[in-house]
């Protein structure tokens, strides 16, 4: 068994959240050294998942499940197999190093504690994504990664660029998340289960379903937005606004792979179809080529790495889409290798930035003597990225070329795409490793020297891990790669891996071709950069710009809608409300023909007639009043007569309330009038007076007719009988109205008093708004627009 059973796994998965809560407290006390303590948490999780490795390698899987919403069959459950184990190891292992790195990188930053919190929250979310069994559990964690990513990208929230990038990432991945939820709902409809583990035992249920196409599209949208596939790739390079630990962790090694994870998870149940094997390799291949091509233009170390991440994700999607066990093994190897070398390279780039003061390759050079440890780690990681022996990346590249070459359809074409992308990747790896460190020493903004242990521990451990995984690739394959490949392929895969190719094959030639092409590209890298720049200037438009246009259009649309709907003209509001009322009152009577019959009316008594006469006098006074205040007070006459009628018909509570409401509304209306600079008398034109009076008459008549037809229906007295019978016995009260309000229907009353409370707050806020501040509002809006434009 793993360390003290499966329950321990749940605790391990919740551990990052506990650590997140501790972050600010520890940082307050220990400053940046809190990282040493906080790193213990992910390290423990790493060890915990390590204990699963032997059993998972033997083909075992584990589930643990808690009831969450039993009515809908939704559980809080986790599933551990080869795929989730390797992912969990990467998330927790790299997470440990990143926490340490963040300790050094943000040393002295006033917000370092909260940064740890975000980072650890993200870690918890990401671990949840890769181990979730229930699709709703997965979705919740998935969204949590988007939100924590938003917080981390926007960490430096005082800068406009940070805020824009954070919002962009949230909008793109959030929209994808919505698509994913819809996709999961359809999966449930098609299969009848929320559990991934159950879905895997019945692999053909989705492929044979009529919902396959919509499910495929929705899942792809979710995965492509998260994993930055073309045309959604633009948010990832922009996310480099985040501090480097975030780039190293979220936007290269872990979060952006969530989309790839999802595709790999669904591969056994959705893969192998014509559309899967066309769409995925197409978009993956396109992303690979576009990502590396755009990367060639960059001079910022982090941006170069970001574009190669986009490209690598494309490569992974392409491989997953081929659905052949061999290509999938290549995908697993590459994913593993990529997490190691890219995490290391990002951290190294951050260290260079931190110590030398710039990340621009044109302003860096000859740092090898000043930063020997960082230099060695970078070279080791870059060699893995370039796919050179004896590093892990080399094995990955061999296997993936072999897999692509032997793909079911269009193997040569996909292999060729891979070579084009990989050779550009080779050139970029060379740029990252060579430009800042070799060549003549360049004067940097800061006097460069080696960073502290916290800064170089991450790059060194990760790049050395890449070397070890490569040297002992047979063991890596047996314990980690093959279990994961089996989980993705849907059946057991036990192909041995060798560092030295066993025989000369196509893959070896493709590798040599890649190296030759890549070296040439590196040699001409400066010319290439200006060439790529020129082509992009000719195109002139990209999805990144499109995003701004989309956001601006939304702002303009909402401004337009607001201007149209909220004219600020009170008379128009009242007319709209009355017309809506008229529709609601008359439509049912017209459609069902249930007009009240007028013959059933009993004659009113003399008292009642007298009260009605008083009400009519009030009405007459309202209509003929010379000024508004008189009209309001006269309206009170009608109101009081109505209250008297209530009293006559045995509703003292209602009547009582009516009296109070009438009194207070006159008082409040009078107060409102004094605030508005209205003319004392009504100055509407004859035409609008006619319109308004007919609207008012229609509404009043509608209410009367509705009430009449309601009272003419046979009366079901069971509720009143219930209240009469039980008000005394159950609720200990003789006043049924009050008992209903505070006991039988007390929950409604809670809602009502909350509304009263909120109304009070709103009125308070509205009265505080002065004409001056509306001008301020406009200023803020234009400011936001300007920021969005820039």
């Amino acid at each position: 068994m793993p360390l003290s059973g499966n329950e321990a796994t749940v605790w391990a998965l919740l551990l990052p959240f506990a650590a997140a809560a501790l972050g600010p407290v520890l940082t307050h006390r220990l400053k940046h050294n809190a990282a040493w303590i906080l790193a213990v948490f992910p390290a423990f999780i790493f060890i915990h998942f390590l204990s699963y490795v032997p059993m998972v390698a033997a083909g075992q899987t584990f589930t643990v499940s808690y009831e969450w919403i039993p009515t809908f069959g939704i559980t809080f459950s986790f599933y551990i197999d080869g795929l989730s184990t390797l992912f969990a190891l990467l998330v927790s292992g790299i997470g440990t190093l990143v926490v340490l790195y963040a300790g050094g990188y943000l040393k002295g930053h006033t917000q370092q504690g909260i940064f740890f919190t975000y980072l650890l929250l993200f870690m918890g979310a990401m671990l949840g994504v890769v181990t979730a069994d229930n699709m709703i559990t997965l979705f919740v964690y998935w969204e949590l990664t988007s939100i924590t990513s938003f917080l981390l990208i926007g960490f430096d929230h005082l800068r406009t660029a940070s805020r824009r990038s954070a919002l962009q990432a949230l909008v793109v991945t959030g929209a994808g998340g919505m698509a994913l939820l819809a996709g999961f709902l359809l999966v449930y409809l098609a299969s009848g289960t929320w559990q991934m583990s159950e879905l895997l035992t019945n692999p053909d249920v989705l492929r044979s379903s009529s919902l396959y196409l919509p499910i495929f599209i929705l899942i792809c949208l979710g995965a492509f937005t998260k994993s930055a596939q073309f045309p959604f790739h633009f948010w990832l390079p922009n996310a480099m606004e985040a501090p480097t630990p975030v780039s190293a962790y979220l936007h290269s090694a872990t979060m952006v792979k969530a989309g790839v994870y999802l595709l790999m998870r669904m591969q056994p149940v959705m893969g192998g179809t014509e559309i899967w094997m066309t769409v995925l390799p197409f978009f993956g291949g396109l992303t690979l080529v576009i990502g590396t091509y755009l990367g060639l233009r960059q001079t910022d170390l982090k941006l170069i790495l970001a574009y190669t991440t986009v490209a690598s994700l494309g490569l992974l999607v392409m491989l997953t889409g081929s659905s052949s066990p061999h290509a999938i093994q290549g995908a697993v190897l590459y994913l593993f290798a990529h997490s190691l070398f890219k995490g290391g390279l990002f951290m190294a780039a951050g260290t260079v930035d931190h110590e030398a003061g710039t990340r621009d390759i044109r302003k860096l050079g000859g740092l090898r003597h000043a930063m020997p440890i960082t230099f060695s780690a970078t070279v080791l990681a870059a060699l893995s990225m370039a796919g050179l022996p004896p590093l892990f990346g080399f094995v990955a590249k061999e296997v993936l070329y072999d897999g692509l070459w032997h793909a079911h359809s269009g193997g040569i074409f996909w292999a060729f795409t891979g070579v084009v992308g990989n050779s550009m990747m080779f050139a970029l790896a060379a740029i990252v490793a060579i430009k800042p460190f070799l060549g003549p020493k360049v004067e940097t903004p800061k006097h460069a020297h080696e960073g502290p242990l916290m800064l170089y521990a991450g790059p060194v451990v990760l790049s050395v891990a890449g070397l070890i995984a490569g040297l002992f690739v047979a063991s890596t394959g047996e314990w980690l790669v093959n279990p994961m490949t089996s989980a993705i392929a849907g059946h057991s895969v036990t192909k041995e891996l060798h560092l030295i190719p066993a025989h000369i094959n196509a893959a070896l030639f493709l590798s040599l071709l890649t190296i030759a092409l890549g070296s040439t590209l590196f040699y001409f890298s400066d010319q290439l950069r200006s060439f790529v720049d020129r082509t992009l200037k000719i195109i002139g438009w990209g999805p990144d710009k499109g995003f701004d246009q989309f956001i601006n259009a939304t702002v303009r649309l909402s401004a337009f809608v607001t201007r149209t709907v909220q004219t600020g003209d009170m008379v128009m509001y009242m007319r709209a409300a009355f017309i809506a009322l008229i529709f609601t009152l008359y439509t049912p009577m017209i459609i069902t023909g249930s007009w009240p019959s007028l013959s059933q009316f009993e004659l009113v008594t003399l008292t009642e007639a007298g009260i009605i006469a008083v009400a009519l006098v009030g009405l007459y006074a309202v209509l003929t009043a010379k000024n508004r205040v008189t009209a309001m007070v006269s309206l009170g006459i009608s109101g009081f007569s109505v209250a008297v009628i209530y009293l006559l018909f045995g509703a003292p509570d209602l009547s009582f309330t009516q009296f109070m409401v009438e009194t207070l509304s006159v008082v409040i209306l009078a107060l409102v009038m004094t605030r508005l600079n209205l003319q004392p008398s009504d100055s509407r034109s004859v035409a609008s007076k006619l319109l308004d009076s007919s609207l008012a008459t229609l509404t009043g008549l509608g209410f009367a007719l509705t009430l009449m037809s309601v009272t003419q229906q046979p009366f079901d007295a069971s509720l009143s009988e219930f209240f009469t019978a039980f008000s005394r016995t159950i609720a200990h009260g003789r006043n049924i109205v009050n008992v209903i309000l505070v006991d039988f229907r007390g929950f409604d009353t809670i809602g009502e008093i909350s509304v009263v409370m909120v109304t009070g707050l709103c009125v308070l806020a509205l009265i505080r708004v002065r004409p001056v501040s509306s001008k301020n509002n406009e200023e803020t809006t234009t400011q936001i627009k300007q920021e969005a434009k820039s």
């Binding site: 509570d653 309330t657 008082v667 003789r734 006043n735 009050n738 006991d743 009263v756 409370m757």
Partner: protein, 139 residues
């Protein structure tokens, strides 16, 4: 309106009406009345005081911001819903405590506290609206 007679009578009227509003509130369970009506009466009482002595006078007399009264009322109403949870009954099941004090039969219950909550919300929210409408920048 601001006559000597009115200014002299207003405090007494306000006090009486407030007292009456509490009476109406408490008797509500068995006779016509209750938190909502009681609250409205209390608001009228404050309105009268306001007409006589101005908004500042009412605010001084209330000590706290009317919105705080409303908020504490909402809190009380929601809190009165909870005790049944601890007894394993559905939320809002009413709890009664009946006892005799100096020969008077006293019945304390969660619905009573709920009704007091309603009363406070109505008093607070509507007084707040009325006062803020009446208030001028010059005040």
């Amino acid at each position: 309106m601001n006559t000597v007679i009115f200014r002299t009578v207003a405090p007494f009227l306000t006090a009486l009406m407030t007292l009456f509003s509490i009476f109406v509130l408490l008797r509500g369970h068995n006779e016509p009345g209750g938190g909502f009506i009681g609250g409205l009466i209390a608001v009228s009482a404050f309105a009268i005081y306001g007409i006589a002595y101005g908004v500042a006078g009412v605010r001084r007399a209330l000590h706290v911001h009317p919105m705080s009264i409303a908020a504490s009322g909402l809190l009380l109403a929601v809190a009165s819903v909870l005790p049944s949870l601890f007894l394993g009954q559905p939320t809002m099941t009413s709890q009664w405590l009946e006892f005799s004090l100096f020969g008077t039969h006293i019945a304390l219950s969660t619905p009573m506290f709920f009704d007091i909550g309603v009363y406070l919300v109505v008093v607070g929210a509507i007084t707040s609206i009325a006062l803020s409408l009446e208030e001028r920048e010059s005040d």
